[in-house]
Each structure stands twice: as structure tokens, then as C-alpha cells.
């Protein structure tokens, strides 16, 4: 399964579409792999969002406990210390209502289903591309 996301995402997108947004969306990218972190940071910055990075689920939870907030959390599922599923469960139980989108290398239905039970808004297979990001930001804008 390619995704559990928003709308229909076709396989490729040739251009990056600019989203007309009133304020800069704040995004937290949660990813332990430096390569993926770099790609996702650049793609989200190109879409005009403000990006912060975290390397695992515990860092995310600690950020929110310290009073930080983000419009969107893009989280890997498999990470050391605390994975994306556990982090999402904890954030939701803390009352965090930010949009949470999982980004995973694993495209098994069972794994995505397990993640979706923890309370995120969507889940996509890595890597992110312009089309997936557009779908996510459009959903965020509409909500």
C-alpha cells in the first residue's frame, strides 16, 4: 500500500506546486536517518514551511512537554529510543492536536494499520515527494 493519506496521489509529480498560505506552517521532522532528514527538510522548506528537526520520538515528546508546538509533525515510524507509534500515542494522550503524518519505508498494510491506531492523520511510504507534500499541506490548510 502506497499510503493512507489524503485524496488520490498519482505516482509522480514533475513540478513543485506552491501553496498559497496565510502564515508559515511550522513543521517538525522526526527522523533518525540523516539522508532522509536532509531530503525532507529541503522539500518542506521549499514549500515555504518552517522546519525543525528531531531524531526520535522521545525528542518530540520532550519538545511538546517544554511548551513547543507545531502545525505538522512528519514522523518516521522506526526510530531508536522511541518509535513513531509510541510517540504518536503519547502526543495524543497529552492532548496534542497537531497534524501527525507518518512517513515509513515499510509499506505493509499491517504495519500501517498499527500506526494508524495510534492516532495520526495519515501515513505515507518514503520518500516524500512534491505530490504527497501538496496533499498534506492542502489538508492542513483546509482544516
Amino acid at each position: 500500500m502506497e499510503k493512507m493519506g489524503f485524496g488520490n496521489v498519482t505516482s509522480t509529480s514533475k513540478t513543485i506546486k506552491t501553496i498559497d498560505i496565510e502564515k508559515k506552517i511550522s513543521v517538525l521532522i522526526v527522523e533518525d536517518d540523516l539522508l532522509i532528514q536532509k531530503i525532507h527538510k529541503v522539500i518542506m522548506t521549499k514549500f515555504g514551511t518552517e522546519v525543525q528537526l528531531a531524531a526520535n520520538g522521545k525528542e518530540v515528546v520532550d519538545l511538546f512537554l517544554s511548551g513547543a508546538s507545531f502545525d505538522l509533525i512528519l514522523t518516521d515510524l522506526e526510530m531508536p529510543i522511541m518509535d513513531g507509534i509510541e510517540a504518536t500515542k503519547q502526543l495524543r494522550s497529552m492532548g496534542v492536536t497537531s497534524m501527525i503524518v507518518g512517513v515509513t519505508s515499510r509499506n505493509q498494510d499491517s504495519e500501517m494499520q498499527a500506526f494508524m491506531k495510534s492516532g495520526p492523520n495519515a501515513c505515507y511510504v518514503k520518500p516524500l515527494n512534491a505530490e504527497k507534500v501538496t496533499a498534506v499541506l492542502n489538508e492542513l490548510k483546509n482544516n
Binding site: 514533475k14 513543485i16 536517518d33 540523516l34 539522508l35 529541503v42 519505508s105 518514503k126
Partner: protein, 150 residues
Amino acid sequence: MDRNKQHRQVALMRQSLFDQGLLDEQFVQLEELQDEANPNFVEEVVTLFYRDSARLILNIDQALDKSPLDFAKLDSYMHQFKGSASSIGAKKVKSECTLFREYCKAGNGEGCKRTFQQLKKEYALLRKKVETYFQLARQVGPVETACRSK
């Protein structure tokens, strides 16, 4: 060689990477992210891929030397490798990763070892060709865009 010929050579070399099935659309996505704010983005990402790959190849080689084989560990390493390969569009490397993981699931050690040898060959070939391409692209420089005279 004049500049136009050099640029054509770079373009042909780039196209051959796709025609030979070494790279896929994801590489194009990375190229589209490169701009004045991130002028060396593609090379930086590919360099990170080489770094990840070197570590994972070493880990997998060591794990394949053990007896009995720990298929769960091997699968975990290869899952990471596949993720990195997918991120830069390394198509053939990604295919070998998928095949390796199938052998892991089947508990087929010989299949894993055979596939890993092929994966290393594909990785070495990709690395050589992409490095040659980047080297030539750096030497030739960017394509100059035409400017309308005022």
C-alpha cells in the same frame, strides 16, 4: 570541446544512468529540489547515501559470516539499505535489496549471500557511474540560461 558539446555530453551521460536502469524518478525529484539555496543538494544527498551504504555493507558482510544466520538482523539492515537506496532513486540496488529481503523471509542463507554479492556489484557500478557524471558536470559547469538584452 566547445561548451555546447560538453553540456550535451553531460546530458547524455545523465540520461544513460536512467536508460541503464541505474536510477529512477526519485533522482529527478532530488534534482528538482536543488536550487541556489541548496546548490550541491544532489551530491550531498548521494554522499550521505555512500556513507550509509558503507556502514550497512560492512554490517551485512559481518552478519553473513555468522552461523547460524540471524535473518531478522539481516532483514533489518537491508530494510535500512533499501530505504537509503529508494531515497536517491538507486533502482537496481533497491531491487537487489527487495530480493535479499525475500530470501531472508524464506530463511534462505545461500540466496541471501548470492544476492548480496550481486547487490555489491550493482552498488559499485552505480557509484562509479554517478561519480563520473558528477565529476564531468562539475567540470563543465551549469548550463547558462539565455538573457534578453535590455
